[in-house]
């Protein structure tokens, strides 16, 4: 009995930090929503562009640059990374997955160059948020998330935003209505990786260090957030709800992770667990279809 109550007290204590983390990763999930959901492009760049954002922000802060300004630079650096993947795909006709992997691999070296070492501590340097003040971190990230959702909602209602959606939905049709689909893909990947890097910048400041490996598995975390969000709020098709549910998905994902860690799962097994959870979640629609099909076949066979 005492053990259970102890478990929940310490789990409860960790919740504010978990929330803050979920919100920050939620920004990255929003970025992934752009490429994965809107453009229908599985962009593996994110595993490195997250660290690019973290690295840029950290090195700038170490050099005395204003932390908020460093976030803007992180966003810009991520945009560049997205542009590379976009150009590899559209101009050189390299398939999406491979284009993302190539940028991701190349960026790893670039990230090391940016930071000058694999791990850069921000000890003693103030950021815009920090894990030592979770309330403030949560308030700030909520404001950032809400602002981003509103901007994205506006943008995807504009002519260019609609052109990007059409490109992701039906490329042939998009070109037939004179949309430059290559340009739209590059633009979408630019914005997507900008957001991912921004999230990396926030994360570095929050945890107090940037690490060249901080984005390892980011795509899986982003997908998990999107999927969890869909499971929870999938019946609403409104775009604002979709984006919000992605952030909520990220938070829920981190709460679950915190819960399993509290249960005693060794942290080295976390990535394996994430991969399994996402694989199952991605398989659900296919499995459902199969089941429906099997039922149909049965029903038809029964009638004959």
């Amino acid at each position: 009995m005492e053990a259970v109550s102890l478990f929940f007290t310490s789990f409860g204590k960790s919740l504010p930090g978990t929330f803050a983390q979920g919100l920050i990763w939620g920004i990255m999930a929003l970025g992934l929503y752009l490429s994965f959901k809107i453009l229908d492009f599985a962009d593996l760049t994110v595993d490195s562009s997250l660290a690019t954002g973290g690295g840029v922000s950290a090195i700038l802060i170490t050099n005395g640059v204003n932390p908020a300004l460093s976030l803007l630079c992180a966003f810009g650096a991520g945009m560049l990374a997205g542009a590379v993947t976009g150009l590899l795909n559209t101009k050189l006709r390299i398939p999406p997955i491979l284009a993302g992997i190539l940028t991701q691999l190349g960026l790893y070296s670039i990230n090391l160059h940016i930071m000058g070492r694999p791990n850069l501590s921000l000890l003693g340097k103030a950021g815009v948020l920090s894990m030592s003040n979770n309330t403030q971190a949560i308030i700030l990230s909520v404001i950032v998330c809400v602002a981003l959702i509103l901007i994205m909602y506006w943008f995807f209602g504009t002519e260019i935003g609609n052109a990007i959606r059409a490109t992701g939905n039906n490329e042939k049709m998009a070109r037939a209505v004179s949309i430059n689909t290559d340009a739209m893909k590059v633009l979408c990947l630019v914005l997507s990786n900008g957001l991912v890097a921004l999230s990396g910048g926030f994360l570095a400041q929050y945890q107090g260090y940037a690490d060249v490996n901080m984005g390892r598995g980011a795509i899986v975390i982003g997908l998990a957030s999107i999927i969890v969000g869909e499971v929870l709020l999938g019946r609403f098709t409104n775009f604002i709800v979709r984006l919000t549910s992605t952030i909520i998905g990220a938070i829920v994902y981190y709460v679950i992770i915190a819960f399993v860690i509290q249960l005693g799962l060794p942290s080295e097994d976390l990535k394996l667990l994430s991969a399994i959870v996402v694989a199952i979640a991605l398989a659900v629609p296919a499995l459902k279809k199969k089941k429906v099909k099997a039922q149909l076949i049965k029903a038809v066979a029964g009638e004959e």
């Binding site: 943008f155 002519e159 037939a176 949309i179």
Partner: protein, 263 residues
């Protein structure tokens, strides 16, 4: 006016799969021409359309639309001047977007796109009246996702989209082939209406010889990447299905498709 001069297209050159799809083909479409195109499977009808619209580059020759060389332009730039409807009803619309959003996208064909709102109130009114004339009740479902509609409804919308901004050339590639006979008839009537109303220069591929004869002012027959028969005016009006079969046999073409024989 569209001028196709000595255009050749070879797929997979230098391999065992080499295929001369269009062979030194030349043709001029005059303004207001409504040309129906027939020919057996693999004759090169779709390829000709795809070369005009820029889906693939040409290997030789030139294509000029109203005096402008378009054969080097990318597909999306040529689309500014072209209206297109594909055989597959799923191809012409964005399934996950609303009916009115699809129309708004088409309404911006050939114009710049910026950060203005993607659809205005005035446009919604316009789309409503345009949809109403389809007689499918779609004017009351403007915010429905296109993916929820039937093939015929989607094809009717695609047709509307292709003509919302007047195209210099309208390309219809067997755009009724995937529809049931009643719907096919409706969509074809709608095409005829839109084309004659705006006097659109049109190229319509069909496997139905009766339709090819009944519609348009000019008919061409293709075989093995060439135009083997080109007839217009009064002579075209007098044409019968038997005449066409005869012409086809004369040119040494393989059998016209089963679909054509049945019709």
């Amino acid at each position: 006016m569209l001028t196709v001069s000595n255009v050749t297209k070879i797929f997979n050159p230098g391999t065992i799969n080499e295929k001369v799809a269009i062979n030194d083909l030349s043709i001029t479409f005059h303004d207001g021409d409504f040309i129906t195109v027939i020919g057996g499977n693999g004759a090169g009808k779709s390829t000709l359309m795809n070369l005009i619209s820029g889906v693939y580059p040409i290997d030789a020759g030139s294509i000029q639309l109203n005096g402008k060389e378009i054969s080097r332009l990318p597909e999306h730039k040529r689309a500014k001047m072209l209206g297109r409807v594909f055989q597959d009803p799923m191809m012409g619309t964005a399934a996950d977007m609303e009916i009115q959003e699809n129309l708004a996208l088409a309404y911006r064909r050939g114009r710049g796109r910026g950060l203005k709102w993607g659809i205005s109130h005035k446009e919604k009114e316009l789309f409503k009246t345009q949809l109403a004339r389809l007689g499918l009740g779609l004017e009351d479902r403007m915010t429905s996702k296109v993916g929820l509609l039937s093939g015929g409804q989607r094809q009717a919308i695609t047709l509307l989209m292709a003509t919302l901004q007047r195209p210099e050339l309208l390309l219809l590639d067997e755009h009724t082939a995937a529809l049931d006979p009643v719907t096919a008839r409706k969509v074809l009537e709608l095409s005829e209406e839109l084309i004659s109303e705006a006097k659109l220069t049109t190229m319509m591929v069909t496997h139905n010889m009766k339709d090819a004869i009944a519609h348009g002012n000019r008919l061409i027959m293709m075989n093995a990447g060439k135009i083997i028969f080109d007839i217009s005016g009064v002579a075209k009006q007098r044409l019968t299905v038997d005449d066409l079969m005869h012409e086809f046999a004369k040119a040494g073409g393989e059998d016209l498709s089963d679909r054509a024989l049945l019709s």
